[in-house]
Point group: C2
Amino acid sequence: MKQAKISEAVVRRLPLYLQALNELLRSDVQTVSSQELGRKLDLNPAQIRKDLAYFGEFGRKGIGYDVSYLIGKIRHILKLDRNINVALVGAGNLGQALCNYNRYSRDNMKIVAVFDAHPDKIGMMINTMRVQPMEELKQTVEALQIRIGIITVPASAAQTVADQLAEAGVEGILNFAPAILKVPPNVRVHHADFTTELLSLAYYLERNAEDGDDDDEVVD
Amino acid sequence: MKQAKISEAVVRRLPLYLQALNELLRSDVQTVSSQELGRKLDLNPAQIRKDLAYFGEFGRKGIGYDVSYLIGKIRHILKLDRNINVALVGAGNLGQALCNYNRYSRDNMKIVAVFDAHPDKIGMMINTMRVQPMEELKQTVEALQIRIGIITVPASAAQTVADQLAEAGVEGILNFAPAILKVPPNVRVHHADFTTELLSLAYYLERNAEDGDDDDEVVD
DNA sequence: TAGATTGTTAATCGATTAACAATC
DNA sequence: TAGATTGTTAATCGATTAACAATC
């Protein structure tokens, strides 16, 4: 019974821990307490300890956590101790930026193939990759053992691409398009559309002074 | 007492509702029930009704919600019924992609200025915008009444840029850099670093067969 | 040893879901 | 009217935080 009932909230914090720990490693810090880590990440220390304890006993009482040891453990938990090949579909501005970015490569994730449906994109070079037509998706996914697909096409095309990726056999999809995707239960979708974050940010702006209506007032 | 105690989870769903409603509007659908909306968004209908009820009575019993009326209401709640000017800092690949994207412009949000610290970027044209040096940030924010800043610089520079944006007077920051920012309490930061989503996606991949150790087993 | 910090249980808090009277 | 669906209260569920014994 492997990794039963670990909540998504916990899993989503693990990359954050990794990020902070890598920073500490670069500063040659050997050991860190849940309190220090909590201060860095704006999280409750008890929560950090509890999260980690789901997976094992990684710390030492009275001491804290060994930074590089914990990095290794979290990388293992997230399955980042193996190379994971990624395909990107949609060679537009955003897609190209993500290919060039490739910061996650140090985490063993790498975009190894790029696809686009548009004839004028096909054949174009991004880094060392040639933009391939959608017809080559399935065979490439199999040949390169690609396990994750990134979608950077317009919302109107996102569902079709998701279907093609699922059919090609990827296990996970990172979706940048503002669309809710329907996929088979064996495929997991994570949403990366930042317009949600941008629009919800507007909610917290001050209303301008001249706009004094009370439509959205809440009395309790 | 305006908009007291509305939880972040609720606010974050509002842009999703907007997205689905806009789709319905394009399909000339007049009216929608919480059930239909829930099906489209994979959400519980009761949750949708409850979310909306925080802000007013927008539906009609036995009928549902008028699509374009509800769009107007949510846009008002999110303060998207006024133009909101945005500045972007970091004219790299990602920054350029976001400037060109500008899909959110139909939501009255618009990137109106681009900044970069690097001399070889300054003066470059993105769409109709000239990349400006950081020295011009404050005066431009004031002149154009910019209220939100987008950070697309490397993690190492993110905190400095956040300080400069806060000092220039923005009310909100959308941060794409993998870094936790410390800002004054009057500034709100939303996180848009997709590496978190990508790395947590790896957790849900199948372990390869040959990798049979039980380190992260959970017994309960 | 005394001080610090973990792992873990119990308490609290908040968010989601179910249920249903009101009503179109 | 009968059927549908809202707004809202109550019940449930889950996640966060506090507290503390164990121990380095």
